[in-house]
């Protein structure tokens, strides 16, 4: 089975869906001949032409709004925002328009579109190429929010998102674009349903919840503490932030009684806060220790100098430390 990078998984997903369905087209800055600034769409312009891989003006609001109108009119657009840090001009169109169309028309219209953006830090990107923005969108009712952490899931989830009749925010951990590799079968329709979380490591002592790059690190930390301290972690890859797979999240907590939630977004009111509240509310009687969050600092993410960046970002070592601490409680 071929081993591919996470970003290759994305590219394959878009290629296959474009081939499968004429309604699918891609728009965003530099997506055409350049193939995207991270080369997520390389080769697609040559294969499908300027009518289906459309270089947009430098105007994020319009990238999304054009997508909304096209989606209402029956297309399945994939709208790329070059960096999640630049999504904010389109915020109104996303949370006030795309998210509401199905609900506000009682299902008469719907909005099948994918808005994809690379997110996350640890790449020397400074304050405007490193941000995590998933919490803003997870909070708005009417949007699905998906974050893959493996090459297989990147491909399978993006394909599912493109086929989904609803607006899907698809955030890609850019640090993992080439760092994360995995086996993805050739010649079959790799589809990962949007919704179910994934228990990627079974254990009994502590549950570590994570997504994106942090899930990748969590697995490393789990291996370390198992080898060095005999602590057996269960690791849950959230994958779909909205709608959240509450069942899997709670079931794992019932097993271990201890939760560590890892996310690189600013800690205050980040996505992990919702999981903490959920566990405390619906699984209180299974709690064997405080529910802990390990997250980015509460300062703008992420400062450029590597010393500051290292302080900001969670890492496998920091995760292992937090696991040991919680396991000993």
């Amino acid at each position: 089975m071929p081993e591919i990078t996470l970003i290759e998984g994305l590219r394959q997903a878009m290629d296959e869906e474009m081939a499968r369905d004429d309604r699918v087209f891609i728009t965003g800055e530099d997506v055409g001949p350049r193939g995207g600034v991270f080369r997520a769409t390389v080769g697609l312009f040559d294969k499908y032409g300027a009518d289906r891989v459309i270089d947009s003006p430098l105007a994020e609001l319009s990238i999304v709004a054009i997508g909304i109108g096209a989606a209402m009119a029956g297309m399945h657009p994939i709208c790329e925002i070059q960096f999640a840090d630049y999504i904010f001009p389109a915020f109104n169109q996303i949370v006030n328009e795309a998210a509401l169309i199905h609900y506000r028309t009682g299902g008469d219209w719907h909005c099948p579109m994918v808005i994809r953006a690379p997110y996350g830090g640890g790449i020397g990107g400074g304050l405007y190429h490193s941000q995590s923005v998933e919490a803003f969108f997870a909070h708005a009712p009417g949007l699905k929010v998906v974050i893959p952490s493996t090459a297989y899931d990147a491909k399978g989830l993006l394909k599912a998102a493109i086929r989904d009749p609803n607006p899907v925010m698809f955030f890609e951990p850019k640090k993992g674009y080439r760092l994360i590799r995995g086996e993805v079968p050739d010649g079959e329709d790799v589809l990962v349903p949007i919704g179910p979380a994934n228990v990627t490591r079974q254990g009994t002592d502590v549950t570590v919840y994570a997504y994106g790059m942090m899930h990748y690190y969590a697995l490393q930390a789990a291996q370390t503490v198992a080898a060095q301290d005999g602590i057996e972690c269960e690791v849950v890859d959230i994958r779909t932030l909205v709608p959240l797979d509450k069942e899997t999240v709670i079931a794992s907590f019932k097993k271990t009684g201890k939760a560590l939630i890892v996310y690189e977004d600013n800690r205050f009111l980040g996505y992990g806060a919702e999981i903490a509240a959920l566990l405390s509310d619906e699984a209180f009687e299974y709690m064997d220790g405080p529910i802990r969050r390990l997250a980015g600092l509460d300062v703008p993410g992420v400062p450029f100098a590597h010393t500051m960046q290292d302080l900001f970002m969670p890492s496998p070592e920091k995760i292992a430390h937090a696991i040991r601490d919680l396991a000993a409680y």
Binding site: F25, D51, R52, I54, S56, P57, A59, L61, S62, A65, I66, G67, I68, G69, A70, A71, M72, A73, G74, M75, P77, P89, N92, Q93, N96, E97, A99, L100, I101, H102, Y103, R104, T105, G106, G107, D108, W109, H110, P112, P141, G142, K144, R163, D164, P165, N166, P243
Partner: protein
């Protein structure tokens, strides 16, 4: 100054060749929209409804534009003053009455939205919302979809002149220009954005002066002249349908009523100005035109008024009798299920 705009009193029917039946239908549509709108004001002042945002005074451009479209085929994305436009597309007084009372069965949103947020997939009206100008780039997106599919379908989008200050307006028309989209954007310039007069909204005398900026065609029309509006819109729609790209149509008109049922317009304009513009009312002008051509007399005018009155009365009664939506309708699903897409 707001009153400096020069507007003709007559109807300019140059190049408009419509038979008597259609001309009378245009008149009837204008009256129908007007009387529905007026009744809604009455209901609000009676305390029976909570909110109304009116389209009185805009019937000329709206009816003219709707009839220039291939209704049932072309798309329209409207804004909150477009009651006449929506009714010409097939939205009924009954539909509208359900929305102002917030009753079950309200077709555009199940009473989840405020009234005047026109939407109907069956009638080709794309969903619209409250944040202004968001519809312009969305309509451009719909036009793009039509172009990508090789259809000759045209998308018409409307907004007020105040909304053209939003970035969405520029970004949408920019796309329209770059990709030569089959789009017609109507700016219904009624001189006031709530209370803010147009000279505080833009430094140019006409919104349409901005069309070259996008590389698209522009046109200015007397929005209170239904036939002139019809002609200008027909040209723009034809251009779009034949692949000639987009047009920015500016309709000069006026809003003789306050912005909405909560607005007090005495704070920002004089009664004189309002009265002056009332003399240029689109329905009165068209009525005079039709009388001159022997297509309308007192009896015919009365008959139309009676017919319209009856429809409005029935619509109101039906809406008042309709039940409210159950509270659980608030929990309508956020997401369309996966396998239900047509």
């Amino acid at each position: 100054m707001a009153t400096d705009v020069q507007i003709a009193h007559q109807i300019d029917d140059t190049g408009v060749d419509l038979d008597a039946k259609l001309l009378l239908e245009l008149y009837w549509q204008m009256v129908r929209a007007r009387r529905t709108d007026e009744r809604t004001w009455v209901l609000h002042r009676q305390g029976k409804i909570a909110f109304h945002i009116s389209g009185i005074g805009h019937e000329g451009i709206q009816i003219g534009a709707a009839y220039a479209m291939r209704r049932g085929y072309d798309y329209a994305q409207l804004y909150y003053r477009d009651l006449a436009f929506a009714m010409a597309m097939g939205y009924t007084p009954h539909d509208f009455m359900l929305s102002i009372f917030g009753k079950a069965g309200e077709p555009t949103s199940g009473a989840r939205q405020m009234p005047s947020h026109f939407s109907s997939r069956a009638l080709g009206m794309l969903s619209s919302s409250s944040p202004v100008a968001t519809q312009v780039p969305q309509a451009a997106g719909a036009a793009l979809a039509c172009k990508l599919r090789g259809e000759d379908r045209v998308t018409v989008v409307t907004l007020g002149e105040g909304s053209t200050s939003e970035g969405d307006f520029y970004e949408g028309l920019n796309w329209a220009g770059v990709h030569k989209l089959p789009l017609v954007c109507i700016v219904q310039n009624n001189i006031y954005a709530i209370s803010v007069p147009v000279h505080l909204q833009m430094a140019v005398p006409n919104v349409a002066d901005r069309a070259p900026m996008f590389g698209i065609a522009g046109a200015i029309v007397d929005g209170n002249d239904v036939l002139a509006s019809y002609r200008v819109m027909s040209e723009a729609i034809q251009r779009a349908r034949e692949g000639g790209g987009a047009t920015l149509v500016e309709a000069k008109t006026y809003r003789p009523v306050p912005h909405s049922s909560d607005d007090d317009d005495r704070t920002y304009r004089t009664r004189d100005e309002v009265e002056t513009w009332k003399q240029r009312d689109p329905i009165l002008r068209f009525q005079a035109y039709l009388r001159e051509r022997g297509l309308l007399d007192d009896e015919a005018i009365d008959e139309i008024e009676q017919r319209v009155r009856q429809e409005v009365d029935e619509a109101q009664a039906a809406a008042e009798a309709a039940p409210y939506p159950p509270a659980e309708d608030a929990l309508y699903p956020l997401f369309k299920p996966l396998d239900e897409e047509a």
